[in-house]
């Protein structure tokens, strides 16, 4: 995720599920009095999660905020511009780094699609 979108990383803590919402919406988290929606990133991107999420990556785009439930922040560093096309509308693209293919999340598109406004519909 581009660092300019990242506000902070926190412990996942308590999440209150909202019945009737999409499964990738884990629920709500109380971040020091502010109610934050929590998105299950693995489910959203349709990738198998190997471990249950433990951390909350709090991101912002266009005035909208959400916490992404993730396993762990592996590294913060510079990446070249994405060179590879990806199938998912929720990624800007992908970049090869040290032998790994790294997908870059399009935070704005993720928010739009969850709100039901974007062209991409979230995976069920």
């Amino acid at each position: 995720m581009p660092v300019r979108h990242v506000l902070q990383v926190a412990h996942l803590g308590d999440v209150t599920a909202v019945p009737g919402s999409l499964p990738q919406m884990l629920g709500l988290h109380n971040l020091r009095g502010q109610i934050l929606p929590v998105v299950d990133l693995a489910l959203l991107l349709g990738i198998p999660a190997t471990t249950p999420p433990a951390r909350l990556l709090i991101a912002e785009a266009g005035g909208r905020q959400a916490g992404f439930a993730i396993g762990e922040v592996s590294e913060v560093g510079e990446l070249a511009d994405p060179t590879e096309e990806t199938e998912s509308d929720l990624l800007v693209g992908a970049t090869l780094a040290g032998g790994d293919l790294i997908g870059i999340i399009d935070v704005t598109m993720v928010f739009d699609s969850l709100e039901g406004r974007g062209s991409a519909r979230p995976r069920r």
């Binding site: 209150t16 909202v18 019945p19 919406m25 009095g33 109610i35 909208r64 928010f111 969850l114 709100e115």
Partner: protein
Amino acid sequence: MHDLDADLTDIFRDEAAERLDQMETSLLAVESGAAGAGSVDSLFRNAHTIKGAAGMLGLDDIRTLAHAVEDVLAGVRDTGVFPPELAAPLLRATTVLRAQVSGTEVPVDELLRDLAASMAMLSPGEAGASDAGGPGDGPAPTSPDDRDAGDAGRPGVAPTSPDDRDAGELDPEVHQPPAQRRPLRVPAEKIDRLLDVVGEVIQYRGRLVHSLGQAQLSHEVADVLSSGERMLDELKDTAIGMRTLPLTVITRRLPLAVRDLCVAAGKDVEFIITGAATALDRVILESLYDPLAHLLRNAVIHGIESPAERALANKPSRGRLEIRAMPRGSLVEIVVADDGRGVSPEVIEEARREGSLADVLARAGYSTAPEVTDLAGRGVGLDAVRSYVQSMGGILEVRSEPGRGMEVILLLPLALALLEALLFERGGTVYGVPLVVAEEVVMVSQTLTLEGRSVLEVRGRPLQVADVAELVGAQAPPLGDRSPALVIGVAGRRAVATCDAVLGPEEVVIKPLSPLFGDVEGYLGTAVLSDGRIALILDPAVLTRAQRRGAAMTTPRKAGPVAPKILVVEDSFTVRELQRSILEAAGYSVVTARDGRDALAALDRDTEIALVVTDLEMPELDGLDLTRAIRADGARSSLPVVIVTSCGSEEDRRRGIEAGADAYMAKQGFDQQALLATVERLVGR
């Protein structure tokens, strides 16, 4: 310099709009005969002030038109006669002035000619002065009787709002002449921010009290805390007070709008506003005019019948349209009621199956009129009104009785941010509903299962019982044998919702659910509680809606051939609905009638009715006469009739049986099972 001008123009707009409001109220009174030449002074003063201020600001079009209005009013003052017909051109002028004041350019030449021509009505002996009593006799106050006679058969509206008349006392702030008020102009955002901060401080107090809860506090600390609490309450009320305005701010314009509609639609309507002094959040008020105007438009065009149609239905030829507002805890209830045709019995039936009348009518494009007129646009548009109410964190409900009218009920928060909520827990999640909809808390240990539906008798009425988890679609372990439950009542619809624990009331700062949840429905918002947990605040309609039809499909009786249809005849709404729910729970299909005559009409309409359950004492045609009428009619002389009545004497029973009833049951000690057994025996199942 330019800024100063802009500021002055703003102030002029506010003031002129207020004066135009007052003028329209007076002119409508004049037009309906409720006011005479005595009201001319304030009209003249208002027109004169608008003219002067417009002249100073170089708004020449406004000045010219206001001047023409002033001329007409000067004529009225001089002759001492105010013919009601003169109100129409003057109202056209105030409408145009209002448009001009808000910055719209409107051609006025024709209007100026009309106003000049209307002066002719003031000359003695000219046509048009006929209604006004003796010309030249000075002010001629019209008696109420004269007014009724003069209005008969003429479409129009009589603004008879008791509030408006008393408003001077009820709400001096709003009705004083604008010049005497010295409001401070503060940007709305600053007040919004103030209330936000107050909300946060209330939350903070909650957390503080919660964390101190365990510790043993000294008297001093407790004193300090409680005086802090008092001050905070006062601060909250003051902040809310700054953000609220009385409903009059928008309702003053409504009588004119209704009058115009009535004229266009050929309807004769009495329009009444009560509770106009009720305060409401400014943000809500700003956007409430359109939805209210929409509901009134629907009522005039679709709801209230033409005078001729009303005469046929034995109704007074003048329809009644009402707006009632009253505070209900941290919410405000606004009811738009008409005595028109209401929705059809079929729609009521559909609403019973689907959960609520609001659900059915709010389906896009639903209309109660067989054809759509230009005036109302396409469809009733109740869906738009409902989305609006929900977006404000409010609740929309609809009640209707076929042929008798319709009520649309808007429950809106008094202040957008704060809500008095009743909190409860289910499956580890905290939920809340507005406290006003929670009627009581009961323990549910044993429910009656009537044909697949769980029912609990609360104060003599069987209410649907359902698990909160099931109603909202949450995962939760099954409830124990004895569980606490809330009795929820929304606009006459009541149900029981069971949960793990009722936590009690708490004032919460409500935040809308993040838009990232897409179009999830059923939540008014979310709130952080004093213990740091998050509560989901539910739209109470979620808890009262009928359970899915799937459950009923599995019951054996429903699966059989068509359920026998029973006609319930009863003038008491409560008893009627009680009998309906008992019979429906047993798998019968039920139609209802309010009295004997209504019942005979229903029998004519519907040949499938297999049995009649009737009350004895009813207006129009009573139960004995109904029974005799049925027996006397060859086609249905063998139709089974059960009389259920509070007249339980032997003599009454004998008269009932003599009239031809098949069974006679007393209401005292009313026994559901006995009724069902009798009905079952008579329809032969």
